[in-house]
Amino acid sequence: MSTDAELCAPAVDRPAAPTRLPVWALSIVAVLVAAAALIGLAVLGGQSLPERNGPPVEELAVERTVLRPQVIELTVRNTGPDAVQIAQVFVNDAFVGVSGGTQPIGRLDTATLRLDYPWQDGQPYLVSMLTSTGVVVEHEIPAAVLTPSPSSVLGLMALLGTYVGIIPVALGMFVLPLLRRVSPTVVRVLLALTVGLLGYLALDGGLEALELGGASSGAYGGPALVLLGSALAFLALTLVDRLLRGRRQRAASAGASGLRLAMMIAIGIGLHNLGEGLAIGSAYAVGELALGAFLVIGFALHNTTEGIAIVAPLAEDRPSLVQLGGLGLIAGAPAIAGAMLGAAVNSSELSAFLLGVGVGAIAQVIVQIAPALRGRAGQLLNPTAIGGITAGVLIMYVTGLLVAA
């Protein structure tokens, strides 16, 4: 710290020159100089360099594939520097009737191509887009499956959200009477188990997200998007957690009821469940049904413990059923909204981002739960915690084997 003081001292001691411009004026001058230099560079510097030596760079990424009877629909984004004109399209080495995408696609613009093709359920297809320069851009459909209509998806997502959000949280809340009687060690084992489950989920979701991000066009960052989503989710949930803690402490000092504390926990968990719902919905949207089912089981198991967390402060209270129901909705209902939104946002990049968000949220909840694992000696990884975490990881691994088929 003495170093800092020494460095700062001369600046502090120096008498302010009366001719000095104020900071705001200096800022404006700096910005203007930079802008002028950039404009000058763009106008003059650009001319001093030759045009790119070579043919146009044509890059296309298929962001969405929708399969309807006799029709394959592709949403294509130009991820390269030059405009691309898709002249013709062939599927599995046969030219097909195409509508849409008749104009050149500018950089980062999209076009939707509708291919007239009698695809068969479950078969793989290779869609080849022949551009105006004769370049072929290929898109693989590993297994053709009818894309469900948006309305049915939203209904399904509402159902999924209910399964993973509301029902497990409500179930967890039902242990309230039990929770009042078991020993703290049992609670710690349960929480450690939760950490194991979540850790496995975070790893699995993260790998999936990176795979999706890697397979996407990369125009918006690809795998970097996953890390961005995780980091933002983690930081934002941490912020929410800090805010809630601050309010909780003030509320506690003001003698607030346990119900109010439970409400705040429910809000935090609800935000977390929004990310979970998004992960489920986007997993479904990109056709990863197995992952969706996997997530449902995993999240349902985990969210039961969330219910326990919500009711924990209520041990001394006697809340009404309506109040308990309200808490459950606040914590669980965002999973429904998240799932519906996740399914609607049907692009591999966005899905990768949202899966990343889920990973970040999971990581944050692990951090939140971790302190509760400490034993009497204050160790985080005490035998009880290790046993619980191991059991959680194994449960996820085994349920994953059962479900992911």
Partner: protein
Amino acid sequence: MSRPAAPSRRQFLVGGALLGSAGAALGAAALLDPTSAGAADDGTGQVPEPGHGGGVNGPTFRVGETVDHVANGFQPTEILRDFDYGKVSTAADGRPVREWEVLATDRDIEVAPGVRFPAWTFNSRIPGPTLRCREGDLLRVRFVNNSAHPHTMHFHGIHPAEMDGVPLVGRGVILPGESFTYTFDAEPFGLHLYHCHVGPLAEHIARGMYGTFIVDPPADRPPADEMVMVMHGLNTTFDGEGNQLYAVNGIPFHYMHEPIQVRRGELVRIYLVNILEYDPINSFHLHGNFFDYYPTGTRLEPSEFTDTVIQAQGQRGICEVRFPYPGRYMFHAHKTEFADLGWMGFFEVSDG
């Protein structure tokens, strides 16, 4: 066209920064996005009725689209019956002399609607001109290389080594701006071909440098409605691994749009040549009819009565057919992949 639908990078980052509302913001944007989840598709699932094919009705380019033949400078329907007999004179010994001038050029050709192919050509067309003569004629083919690349004309037939049109033999490679007159006797009678023989050979051929060379027998074949079909591919990616387009006479699917008009009961003679690069064999199959097949056209007796023949690269043969019934009869490679990628067409048989 869908510009508003695309979430911009800025929306993305701003949305992400707010997490709790991030999902909501992104999701809401998607819900408002009319192209999401197929909302824009309902009720318009039908692709317009095609000129030919589409979906279960078979392969097609974008429905209603054809190439610009005028800009291309040639028309496959005209190439079909376009025989170039050359400028005929008589030599001192009394035998006919035929002279042609063939120009090598580089030009972009619209090989499929909206697809430009930087071709190397003979006389600015794919395939090059059909040069036709009679056995025993003296042939003088003046080759002018107006291309930016070195080329030759290599004829199939019987001729001296120095007229073979290959590098390092005789005149060898004809450089840009140069010319050379290939002089040889027309023999043997039959259906032959010519092509450039400069390395890399596969590319020089695949770029479009080939044509048909017909030597008629001393006595004419029976009168017929005669036509040339040169089977070839177009490797638009230039990766040397297969072709993206397959065709007869330059333009894929052309005779689907413009069926070849023939008359019922009249003898039709097809000079069929295969110059397909990057695939080992090609084939020709005619629907609803059978034809006599004369391999290489060097015998006047058919070898086979069939509806399907296969040809390796450089192989050729004459097909003679009479259509007993009116109507449309498809012809295509029976290597179905080639047909689906453009090598298919129709005969349209009418009375009179």
